[in-house]
Amino acid sequence: MTTAERTAPPDTLTVPASRAPGCPFDPAPAVADAARTEPITRATLWDGTPCWLVTGHQDVRTVLGDPRFSADGLRPGFPFLTAGAREVIGQKPTFIRMDDPGHAKLRRMLTAEFMVKKVEAMRPEVQHLADDLLDRMTAGRNSADLVREFALPLPSLVICLLLGVPYEDHEFFQERSGILLALRSTPAEAKAALDELVEYLTRLAQAKRERPDDGIISRLVARGELSDGEIASMGRLLLVAGHETTANMTSLGTLALLRNPDQLARLRAEPALIKGAVEELLRYLTIVHNGVPRVATEDVVLGGSTIRAGEGVLCMINSANRDATVFPEADALDVARDARRHVAFGFGVHQCLGQPLARVELQIALTTLLRRLPDLRLAIPYEEVPFRGDMQIYGVHSLPVAW
């Protein structure tokens, strides 16, 4: 950990940046300040490595859409957000840390699984799961932790169904997923969590070879193009990505609505606004809050700055989504605005593959919650809500609510 002890020059912005003090729904104050003054700015990573911070909406789209900025985590200069991520990437790279054509080849094995039509057809099933969870959460009680009893189990059940992973193992993979996404996990902890997950999924892939089912893992096995280990790595990516993102959008989204009662009332009065409201919550909250990393493969001039080959770039999709030139009054939550140009799912060929699923899950989760619990409220003082500033995916660790 000697690199982590190097300190940044005092006048340099260090990332991941502290989110406190400030509004917990807004980007870290230092990042928001940088976005206001310089669209492209120098920063220092946690380990002392210099990098570029890109904060404007158009510049973020430009970088993420330009193949001269590589997503390949094995390239020298790639900006890792945590020591754990740096350790993990060299072990078992997944396609989100590859460039085309290797990336496209692997991604295209999955695109049919998350296409809009297929995911839309899952609505009744997701609705049933949501109702079932709320039945259990509310049975004989008037308070609960929304994260543990609803926001996390719903996407967890759905991704398990899709992959063909037994949900009864959820504590095992949720715990390891949490370690992989914690900013403070040591390289050894991250490596152990990764190894255990991949080993578990390798065994699962082997089992599907004997007894196929209708899940994604089985279908990848049946294609015969990947080894069980490669399928396990891909499964690990989907399992982790399918968990924390939608779970945190559901709980943080609920909290954001509770803290904006006019917006909550509007959505309750006009449930048909839900699709747009979900886009607005994705924009406003942007839970991928520490930036999307890329490394320049050649010198690129961007906004008057020259980014040199081999220099790391963090695309701050959270500040891009607060760019007032694209979203008027960008710091306000407005469930009736058109927020579709947000980049909460990223941009470019790596844009989130699971976004149609995330949208369906969020639309159903929020609609069902608001319909069934008309008196939903926070059960603890707002000041005591444990925000996830310590995780790669932002949100809340728990959300005690009453009804």
Binding site: V116, F345, G348, P356
Partner: protein
Amino acid sequence: MRIHADQEKCCGAGSCVLAAPDVFDQREEDGIVVVLDPAPPAALHDAVREAAAICPAAAITVTD
């Protein structure tokens, strides 16, 4: 308006289908973009322009 969608560039994110479902669809076998109506009526032009603007892979081009 004429629409061209580059199936080589498409990354199958599905944004276009959500923005303009009458004009765009995805291939069953791999989720890659299919144009249902390459010359859509005027009422759909705004939705098509939005689909092109949000396409993450810049795979959709629109000519007037």
